[in-house]
Amino acid sequence: MADIERHTIAVLVDNEPGILARVVGLFSGRGYNIDSLTVAEVDRANNLSRITVVTSGTPMIIEQIKAQLSRLVPVRKVHDLTDEGPHVERELALIKVVGKGEHRIESLRLADVFRARVIDSTTESFVFEMTGSSEKLNAFITLMEPLGLVEVSRTGAVAIARGVGQF
């Protein structure tokens, strides 16, 4: 369908047992997509966690997702960052590349271009750490494929609105 949109939604929840299962179960039970989902405590004093979920669907589905999320009892706030104006989105990836010779040198060169950091190395491997938009990570990972890419670990996107506005 042509009208599928990708939205980044931030959900502020009470950090209590089962809350992640509630959110994930909502998506699977109602057949919504999860492109990525991250969660961590963000406010210890008030016991709040923030879930960032990247999802895609028709505008009607996106509206449903937000309404359904808001309906969960431990959910405090639901913000559609994609709808609410400019925001920044970042993801972190750890990328392991194994190889020798020219491939190894080329991978290091590209890592430098992409500003990935080497956080572990042996004589025949690197682990790169890279932060950026998901698209940038995708591009780097694609480049690493012929150069000995063996393993990727990604956080999924986290996002926050630009400017002084806050939750």
């Binding site: 009470d14 299962a21 309906r71 405090r76």
Partner: protein, 587 residues
Amino acid sequence: MSAEPISGADIVIKSLVDQGVDVVFGYPGGAVLPIYDSLFKQNNLRHVLVRQEGGAVHAAEGYARSTGKVGVVLVTSGPGATNAVTGLTDALMDSVPVVCLTGQVPTHLIGNDAFQEADTTGITRPCTKHNYLVRDVNDLARVMHEAFYIAKSGRPGPVVIDLPKDVLFALGPYSEPVHVEHKSYRPQTKPDAKRIDEALALIAKAERPLIYGGGGLINSGPEACARFTEFVRLVDAPCTLTLMGLGALPASDPHFLGMVGMHGTYEANNAMHDCDVMIAVGSRFDDRVTGRLNAFSPNSKKIHIDIDPSSINKNVRVDVPIIGDCGQALAALIAGWAKVAPKRPPAGRARWWGRIEEWQSRDCLRYDRGRKDVIKPQYALERLYALTKDRDPFITTEVGQHQMWAAQFFKFEKPYHWMTSGGLGTMGYGLPAAVGVQVAHPDALVIDIAGEASILMNIQEMSTICQYRLPVKAFILNNQYMGMVRQWQELLHGGRYSESYTAALPDFVKLAEAFGAKGMRVTDPAKLDDAIRFMLDTPGAVVMDIAVDELENCFPMIPSGAAHNEMLLGPEDEAKKPVSEEGMVLV
């Protein structure tokens, strides 16, 4: 705060009493023994012992739907909790306020595959409005009170509280219910004034308005229903109700067109299709109501009043969403009407009523009244209605053809008198629901309109009925088939009646007697009235086994995948309008 700490089990009982609960439907077991012990030592709370936990939840639903109060269930861990799942899902789908207390193995055994352990909060997460596992007795009183608030406020629903056995024994503080604003859960009840004005402007100009009320009205309460009735009369617009909304407007009101939807009336469905302004109040555009979505009421502006924001634009895009309690929204609409009310009705109004009368003249609920050799199910219900209407009966149903006929042929004048499983369509709902209704209204006439297949799904509750001497009347339309299954097989599967015929049915008269009730079988239409009178005159529980026309189908019908103006009115249409291929895959 009470001065002395008390046991978790006592906290449970005290909270229930303070929440105004007078009866609990339940079944004991190892993990909830401390609660049963506390129950034993007090006199404020009554316990009704069901015969299977599923029955307890339906009984609580019947209690809740016939009183507007929260129904309470008490079951043990493991199988007790899993047996409750169908009832909880039913309550979720139909927005019935239920609090279900489940026992759990002691906290140190959780996750250990202990005896009668189940991940109750995990299993019930998708079938409750909210659930809790209470690991600390210090949280117990707060959770108990919060659960009642969540169950009955906003869009009501079931709440599960899972109670590990050690928490029930532990000593902790009790606190009385006080209203504290919940930190995240705050349903919006007050409608947006701007939206109300937009709605009024649309309604005032409508040439072909239609008001479409649903179960939200019943949930909001008799006051909301009275306002609804006032509003319908004020605007002088035709009105239809969903299966769950029956009773929100008196059926005798001339504005009432009958039920809408798959087995709704010809006039209601055609009015829905052709209206220019639709006012949906506490109804959710369910697929049984809308039929084929892309042909649903194509030329209307739609106003949707609902307390649940997720109901808005879920299936059907609406023009004026009004989020809030329907009683409050209706009050605002009524208050604002004088300002916008046209001096003369809009030009097309008279013509609109004329068309409605034409549709009504098709007499869509007609059936072969001439048959003297066999009881037509519709006839049985017409007679039941005629002979009971002066006694203000409470009707519960099972699920299937009999349910639809009951919805078509019984006329409800007020809310809280019609208990049926709409969203989930749970066969076996009616008999246990009747238990709950009768417990709430001991002197009332309570009838479970049943099919022989459905009632067998929870027939064990006859034993509960007899234990508590509940004068429930089970009115079984016995066609020996799962009638609705058979009807669909006839319509969609070439009449191959795969497994829809019950070859070995019990003798319902003897079955009733075995439980300690009266049983009666009727096969002759001429004897039906006397049999119904006998049923009404018998003080205790009665099972009426009415042998009805086995092959009768329920009409009118919007076949799946069809639009409102493509109804089948009777068997003669069935042959003319075969079901589309897209319709075949729909349920």
